[in-house]
């Protein structure tokens, strides 16, 4: 905190003061570090960006905050490193002002990061990966952005929004459990991605035919480098659209099972952008059908014809196969039988490397024999 004597000044003069204090930084130990520098460098505070002092000094930006922060004047002085006035005896404890200052800073931060300067400040942090990565496997460590679920303080802690799956996650470390979500606010994350649509995933995902899919097709722009979203305000980044499919011994768990998949829809995307328009404002198919449009069913049939091949590939469980997970319908019994045969056959084929070959054999053995659920009682 500055040791300069700074009585109440108007904003312009304050700015000068701030400038002065930084120019004399070497003179005193404490003035090298402003309160904002110090606060944002604390452990767990690395999601915050540094709010420019000019922003805080502009009273207009603080409209309405005075009623929410106790010891307003003292807190503001602390944040701006202004020497408190003489009659500070009415403050019972400096730690109360401390917490007021944190609240004040957080609320100003919520407003600041919505400004042009604030957004560009945050995009720098975002691209440097300061906020961590999405824990979801098929988001392939997409960088996440802090967000709040409420704009009023004291309701909820900070969460992390993933622009690929569009979901929100709890920060991985408990050191963020003290950071209020209101210090980022509900608007920031969506506005950020409206401002930088090239960082947000497009809402559709075209599944490549597995035969032509390059090894890393999921990270490549779909349809070559000329990927565009027809909606100029929507996400412009090719989506990482793989969806997890539960399998037992290589066979998909049917949705007809009581424990079958129920949540696949939550991660699915349409193949094409215009399919989004097949749904009305209430979330019903416009053509009145219940299970989707005809285009979908055709695709499903195509997929089912590829099933035998997929069965043979199940060991290799990888991009080529997982790329086409749009499937809805359950496989029918004959297809499964065919898949089993192919699978057992493939287990005996050599793939070169000794270890891999050997383990393949063991997997084959596992499928045809003992270590099944009935292996041991």
């Amino acid at each position: 905190m500055s040791h300069l004597a700074a009585p109440e000044l108007d904003p312009d003069e304050l700015e000068e003061e701030a400038f002065d204090s930084s120019s004399q930084a070497s003179s005193t130990q404490t003035s090298t570090l402003t309160w904002i520098n110090w606060y944002t460098s604390l452990p767990g505070h690395d999601y915050f960006c540094e709010v420019h002092e000019e922003f805080i000094e502009d009273d207009f930006n603080l409209t309405g905050l005075q009623a929410m922060v106790p010891f307003w004047k003292e807190a503001l002085e602390m944040v701006l490193d202004v020497e408190p006035e003489e009659d500070s005896s009415k403050i019972p404890d400096v730690s109360i002002v401390e917490s007021s200052a944190e609240l004040l800073y957080g609320l100003v931060h919520q407003r600041f990061i919505l400004t042009k300067t604030g957004l560009s400040c945050m995009v720098e942090k975002y691209e440097a990966g300061h906020f961590g990565a999405c824990p979801r496997v098929f988001c392939h460590a997409t960088p996440v952005l802090p967000c709040g679920r409420a704009d009023m303080p004291g309701i909820d802690t900070v969460k992390l929004y993933c622009p690929n799956c569009g979901d929100i996650y709890t920060p991985p470390s408990s050191k963020y459990s003290g950071v209020d979500g209101a210090f980022f606010g509900t608007t920031f994350a969506p506005l950020f991605f409206q401002t930088y649509p090239e960082l947000h995933a497009a809402p559709f995902f075209a599944t490549n035919p597995p035969s032509t899919a390059p090894a890393h097709s999921s990270s490549m722009p779909v349809g070559g480098p000329t990927f565009t979203n027809p909606d100029p305000h929507g996400g412009q980044k090719p989506a990482l659209g793989r969806v997890y499919v539960p399998r037992i011994y290589g066979f998909k768990v049917s949705e007809r099972a009581r424990s079958g998949p129920r949540m696949k829809w939550m991660r699915e995307r349409p193949e094409r952008w215009d399919e989004l328009d097949n749904v009305d404002w209430k979330g019903r198919w416009k053509d009145g059908s219940t299970t989707g449009d005809k285009g979908m069913e055709d695709e499903d049939e195509d997929m089912q014809q590829g099933e035998v091949k997929r069965g043979a590939l199940f060991d290799d469980e990888d991009e080529a196969e997982e790329d086409e997970e749009e499937e809805e319908e359950e496989e029918d019994a004959p297809t499964q039988a065919a898949a089993t045969t192919t699978m057992a056959g493939s287990a005996n084929e050599s793939r070169g490397g000794g270890a891999v070959h050997a383990v393949k054999t063991s997997v084959g053995a596992g499928l045809s024999g003992p270590p099944g659920p009935t292996g041991r009682r």
Binding site: I168, V253, G364
Partner: protein, 270 residues
Amino acid sequence: MDDLSTGSESDYSNSWISWFLSTKGNEYFAEVDEDYILDRFNLTGLNGEVVQEYSRALNLITDNLDDESLDDDVRESVETSARFLYGLIHARFIVTSRGLGKMLEKYRKADFGRCPRVYCYSQPLLPVGLSDIPYQKAVKLYCPRCEDIYSPKSNRHGTIDGAYFGTTFPHMLFMVYPQMIPGKGQPVGSSSVADVNRSLMAGQQRGEGPSAVGSVSTSAVAVKAERYGPRIFGFKVNEDAKLARWRTARRDGQIARLEALEREQGQTNM
């Protein structure tokens, strides 16, 4: 040490398996029963071709290895092989009824961590592999509430081979214990996070029952699942909302399909 081969030794604390399980980073592993390992039938296909130093590794796991006579290099490679072999046996064991029971206990204690997704309300997770072949993919965590998979938080766990758990395990568990399937919505008797949510969503909240599994149909459980809807100054974002509606339609399509199937089956049963 040969007298230990009976498998009856009760010096539990000194066994290789209990040492292995107590090692930091191995919290996901369950204890494989000694007699499961000693039954050669369960080890079909695991041999010298798959695991280097197979017989020494097996002896080490079952505490029958006289490792005084080995030099350090050999001991180290046997040790590595033993971990590998234990992992492969583990993948088989945890889909047996004994193994499922043990893993269920660990799941109840949330030994595998909790789902990071906010709307999963700290749902305990289960380990799952993306491949049954070793050295392919590291272990992931399956959330039975959102039915998605996540990477372990800690690097210690993030480097365990997924083949030590297998692709089948969590799904087999819920086939065998369908009553353990969590509901999709907000849990009853919820924590502080849920209270927060209640205050946020007051008025919008549907009545959340307990898990809809048991003898009850699970066709429509997904209706209760909550999703995040981005808003700018309170207004929904066009494209995100569109995608959300499309997903709602997909969800309702599945529910309609399953309910039609149920009615069909109900009729044939009558």
